[in-house]
Symmetry: C2
Subunit: 340 residues, 2 copies
């Protein structure tokens, strides 16, 4: 009996393993699940054979049977983006934290396919039977679709803004207040003409813009100029470059809808010899880990991504347990660094 194993033949299912062990499939199933119902000796013998042959039970079959998949879908609705590109660092950062929290609890993550033009994209995901729960990162302009599904599918948590009376459970910062904070910061620096870089079609971005308006209104300043800028990094640079003439025309403060947009803007301004923050002050939004590492370091509104991810997962788990979890709204925090 050599101890260097050259597995004779791969075992394909518990039936084969059962034949090999001279027991029934039921016993094998119980043995592999380490149930005390089966005799300790047979149990260990079966486990040994399984190990020796590198056998692992088919998860698809098990999950079909137990009606529990241990898979959570993570989805970014990109309805308002012309191209669907998962490159936004904010999404990636929160995805990382979600992954940590979910895997710690024994769940796998499925990045589900978003069929761009289909009305029922969320229904397809939710009803696929592959997912125990769903996490949405961002609401985009898909409020209706999300509400519709939330009414009958409980284990779903959305990163985004909470609107009065909505059914779906959100976790996120108070975007409007965050926008206000950014505006107040810029105004306090002495900015008079503020520009907003972002796509207000997306609900949470729209809220940030509204908060910014709150700030300029309160200060008796003109409304900020809206300069649509998308989140997809491949078009962002061009869009910002296209906005440069408008920015150079009297704007002295920029509130960007995200840190990435802010970084691109700072770069583009530098290319035109504009000094940040002396000539134009810039604020970001998100407080990515990177925001602290840029030169100049970014003044931004912090979202506390790690805590947000934890809150999402915890809300999802209570919902998976059948209980109700309320929306969570975290306070935005202004992080003042070098750009404003």
């Amino acid at each position: 009996m050599t101890d260097a194993p050259s597995p004779p033949a791969r075992i394909r299912n518990i039936a084969e393993l059962a034949r090999l062990a001279g027991v029934s499939t039921g016993t094998v199933s119980r043995a592999l699940a380490d149930k005390s119902l089966v005799n300790k000796e047979t149990r260990e013998r079966i486990q040994a054979i399984a190990r020796e042959h590198g056998f692992r039970p088919n998860q698809m079959a098990r999950r079909l049977r137990v009606q529990e998949t241990k898979v959570i879908g993570v989805v970014v609705p990109l309805g308002h983006e012309q191209r669907q590109h998962l490159s936004d660092p904010f999404f990636m950062a929160i995805l990382g934290h979600l992954a940590d929290a979910l895997t710690e609890n024994g769940y796998d993550i499925m990045l589900s396919r978003v069929i761009p033009d289909a009305e029922d994209w969320l229904e397809r995901i939710v009803d696929s039977g592959m997912l125990d729960g769903v996490l949405l990162i961002g609401q985009s302009n898909q409020f209706e679709a999300i509400e519709r599904v939330a009414k009958r599918f409980r284990p779903m948590v959305v990163w985004g803004s909470h609107v009065d009376g909505q059914t779906h459970c959100t976790v996120g910062v108070d975007n409007r207040n965050g926008g206000r904070l950014a505006g107040e910061c810029l105004i306090q620096r002495g900015c008079r003409q503020i520009a907003f870089l972002g796509d207000v079609e997306a609900i949470e971005i729209g809220e940030r813009f509204r908060g910014l308006c709150d700030a300029t209104d309160a200060a008796g300043l003109p409304r900020p100029i809206e300069l649509p800028t998308h989140l997809a990094s491949d078009v962002m640079a061009d869009e910002i470059a296209a906005h440069i003439p408008e920015l150079l025309d009297g704007v002295d403060g920029i509130a960007a809808a995200s840190d990435l947009i802010a970084m691109h803007a700072v770069r583009a301004l530098a290319d035109h010899g504009v000094k940040v923050p002396d000539d134009i002050a810039v604020t970001g939004f998100d407080d990515l880990p990177l925001a602290e590492q840029t030169i100049p370091r970014l003044t931004t509104i912090s979202q506390n991504i790690a805590e947000g991810a934890r809150a999402m997962v915890s809300a999802l788990f209570t919902r998976l347990g059948g209980d109700d979890a309320p929306s969570v709204e975290m306070p935005p925090v202004l992080v003042q660094r070098d750009t404003a």
Copy 2:
């Protein structure tokens, strides 16, 4: 008959739908798959009922039956990292491109769980029965494990370095040559004492270091100093800060193992009044979209992430089709910008 639907009762499976339509489950299945075997009229009638009730067949069951999951696992082996954190922007960037390419072809993506301490982490993923194929991003220090699995599991493609005689299929740049390019760039600028920021335990990083040594050897310069720096962004900043004394002690060129490390280094140097590239030149590796947007813009070795992702997916598909796909080694390109 109102056309505003208030679905009477949810249909749970094709059996219920079959009863409702007065046909057998087999017919329903074929009708939903739009097979010409069933009469056009019954087919449309069944589809209408399904639509009306918002019924979607259970994917788990279908996949178990057809033995094809249309799911590709995407995994980052983080064997050499003490904490498993999916925050590296390079990983995220390539994940984004992989997601695009896979979803375009009708595949979903599963971020599989990596059980940190388990020897058989890759076996567990591959044998779970949930995945048609696997993409690994990075080899980390898991060469053995990858080889072992590659010998019997064909549909797997790995981002990383190709070593002579290896079984597993890799796609990646020639890391050694990339390291050499970085070294030559620094040397040509006049750097005499070069430091390497990265964790050489990881295969691809080690190759980059070796290439760097090739360059210093060829120029008759002393070997670069190794300053271990991990990829996890939460510890990276501290590690780099800890390296500062060594960097200020005669080092005039830094080759970083990744763009992120380079950006952190530039930031840390700025904090100590060191000017980049005048006092110390810095090169990155990856050429993230961000590298062009920093101030100063990063000189780096380009990996062409988009093309790499496409190559991985295409190799995976030919392997899924049963054919063999060879490893792909892309030439690294030096992108000279402001930091070196």
